[in-house]
């Protein structure tokens, strides 16, 4: 089922949380709402679910106005950041809840409920935990149960609010892949909220970047990363070095701010057209990559460069890079924004 959001406004007291949001999500897509805390992404998700009422604007499901529909009629599945499992019920009863509370006329019989819950528990690979209680499960297991519970009512739309936010890094990565596979099998229209750009890039078909209650950019992960629509998107989706007015790479005398990602800088021994003089400060190894820190020749802060570790070792020997050594940086790819008036410092 497709979701259309039209001119949604929402404020809490004096704070505008959602400012004229419009969004089209075709059926079957897996969309990430990405943004920092306070960007309005969770509120948008809750308004789609019906847990929050917009001040104005409409939400359409499959072309039909659902703005005033009760949460119960919307047939959405919702997964909460902190799982919200029912602590006094067994895992089995948690998953069965949505079926048991149905009116008698549409409630499946006991055998059918048992079969369906068993199927869902098998799908999340936790059928052996059916008789346990939520507090006996790990965070990752709880979140999978929360997902099974949401899917038990066969929702037309699946909404996930920071579903992996409370989990540790390794479990997160596992669950991300698992969610991706699950979506590929079920094709239920899904929207998930995250503040982790890596998570959004890895899982989603499409990323909607939000900031201050507005949509900054909306597109495929590659598109958003390679062609950011604003300095905010560029900086939110990864590290970037700022060159204010000094970078002559374009050769057009542009005095605006230029952004270069750390892996798009080449280190050379001698000055080249468009290069920036720097002084080597230190090298930090982070996993397979090495992060190099250079002090700007003009004294205006630091520049980060990232490269594979093997490449760094070869470069160090070739240029004799020790602390305090002179070098030059040549950007391979520079991003500029026309009419930029946003203060980058305010976006951190």
């Amino acid at each position: 089922m497709s979701i259309e959001v039209r001119h949604l406004h929402k404020r809490f007291g004096e704070t505008v949380v959602c400012d004229d949001l419009s969004l089209d999500i075709p059926a079957g897509q897996l969309v990430a709402l990405l943004g920092p805390s306070g960007s309005g992404k969770t509120t948008l998700l809750r308004m789609i679910a019906g847990l929050e009422v917009p001040d104005s604007g409409t939400v359409l499901f499959h072309g039909e106005d659902a703005t005033d529909a009760d949460v119960r009629e919307r047939r959405v599945g919702f997964v909460f950041q902190h799982y919200a499992l029912f602590g006094h019920m067994t895992i089995f009863e948690n998953v069965a809840f949505g079926l048991r509370v149905r009116p008698k006329t549409v409630r499946p019989d006991e055998a059918e409920i048992r079969a369906r819950v068993a199927r869902l528990l098998a799908m999340v690979q936790l059928d052996y935990l059916a008789e346990r209680y939520p507090h006996q499960l790990s965070g990752g297991q709880r979140q999978r149960i929360a997902l099974a519970r949401a899917l038990a009512v066969e929702p037309k739309i699946l909404l996930l609010d920071e579903p992996f936010g409370a989990l540790d890094a390794r479990v997160r990565r596992e669950l991300r892949r698992w969610l991706r596979r699950l979506h590929d099998e079920m094709h239920v229209t899904s929207v998930f909220v995250t503040h982790d750009q890596e998570e959004a890039m890895e899982v989603a078909d499409r990323i909607v970047v939000m900031n201050h209650g507005r949509i900054e950019q909306d597109g495929a992960p590659d598109e958003v990363y390679d062609h950011p629509a604003s300095p905010f998107v560029l900086q939110f989706l990864g590290d970037a070095n700022l060159f204010r007015g000094t970078l002559a790479a374009g050769g057009d005398g542009d005095a605006g701010t230029a952004y270069v990602r750390p892996h798009e800088l080449q280190v050379t021994a001698h000055a080249e057209p468009g290069s920036v003089p720097v002084v080597f400060a230190q090298a930090l190894t982070v996993g397979p990559n090495t992060r190099l820190e250079f002090r700007r020749g003009d004294g205006d802060g630091y520049v980060d460069v990232e490269m594979p570790r093997a490449e760094w070792l070869a470069l160090r020997d070739r240029l004799g890079l020790v602390r305090g050594a002179q070098a030059h940086l040549v950007p391979r790819n520079v991003t500029r924004f026309a009419n930029e008036d946003v203060d980058p410092a305010a976006m951190i």
Binding site: G50, R72, F78, A84, F86, G87, F97, G98, V101, V153
Partner: protein, 290 residues
């Protein structure tokens, strides 16, 4: 309650972070002496005095018609006011913990009012409102309704005095639990009543029972407010505490202490129940936050 906790968890602290041994011993001795003098001795005295003239006198004092009437009235008043306060308390706690509305803080303060007002004043307020010279006095008389110096007055006064127990017990727990589970239930299609019965209520069941036990203990033991509205009509509007006072004033010490021992026994039973339920509450709170 705190005494139990200290005994249950022997402190294992190093010399550097604790007081000298003699300080600890003196503090413990003072605390124990206080407990013995002000709690244990009176409790023993009640039962000793009650049985001083033998079991026959003890039983006679309890099966005496006025005493039986007082016991019956106490049980009836508690049986009406405790369930009502259970409903009021749950409703108030639910409203305060799960919804946002204007005047929430005012409501919270009002719930505490019975704790801060002297019970005698509470009783006088009801006499002022429902008594013969009170605001509704004439109207009530015209419609042949008796509230003051009758069971309804006693029940109303008891409800007022015991109102905070259930609500106060539930509000912090419900606030800590938040509304996520209720929201999850709503998205899954549960109606308001289903959410309450299947999610909210089971989550607070032990705290609720704890509140009910305290509420019941106070309802049966309440003296001040009930004393003002009851009128002390023997065999009709005397509750157990009032009956005890009358017996005592008439120098029937053995009888007074016999009935008092019943109330004291009830208090001991309440204490045991309280400890059992308290453990379950702690276990539940632990399960909820884990």
């Amino acid at each position: 309650m705190s005494a139990v906790a200290i005994v249950a968890a022997p402190p294992r602290v190093s010399e550097a972070t604790t007081e000298p041994a003699w300080v600890r011993r003196v503090l413990i001795a003072v605390a124990l002496a206080f407990l013995a003098l002000f709690l244990f001795v009176p409790l023993v005295a009640v039962f000793a005095e009650a049985l001083k003239k033998g079991v026959a006198v003890y039983l006679a004092a309890i099966v005496e018609p006025d005493a039986l009437a007082a016991i019956r009235l106490t049980i009836v008043a508690a049986a009406i006011s405790v369930p009502l306060n259970c409903v009021f308390g749950v409703a108030a706690a639910w409203a305060i913990a799960k919804f946002d509305f204007r005047g929430k803080n005012l409501l919270l303060t009002l719930i505490d009012l019975p704790f801060s007002v002297s019970p005698v004043i509470a009783g006088l307020i009801f006499v002022l409102v429902f008594g013969l010279q009170g605001w509704f006095g004439e109207w009530l008389r015209d419609h042949d309704l008796k509230i003051i110096f009758a069971l309804p007055g006693i029940v109303i006064a008891t409800i007022f005095i015991t109102f905070p127990f259930v609500a106060r017990e539930l509000i912090p727990l419900m606030q800590a639990q938040g509304i996520e589970q209720e929201e999850a239930a709503r998205v899954l299609g549960a109606s308001g009543w289903q959410i309450f019965r299947r999610v909210t209520l089971p989550n607070v069941r032990w705290a609720l029972l704890y509140g009910v036990i305290l509420c019941n203990a106070r309802a049966m033991g309440e003296f001040g407010a009930v004393s003002v509205v009851s009128g002390h009509i023997r065999g009709q509007t005397n509750t157990m505490p009032l009956h005890i006072e009358i017996l005592y004033n008439e120098y029937q010490f053995a009888a007074a202490f016999a009935v008092a021992s019943l109330l004291a026994g009830l208090a001991l039973l309440t204490l045991v129940l309280k400890i059992v339920v308290e453990r379950r509450v702690a276990a539940q709170a632990g399960g909820a936050t884990r």
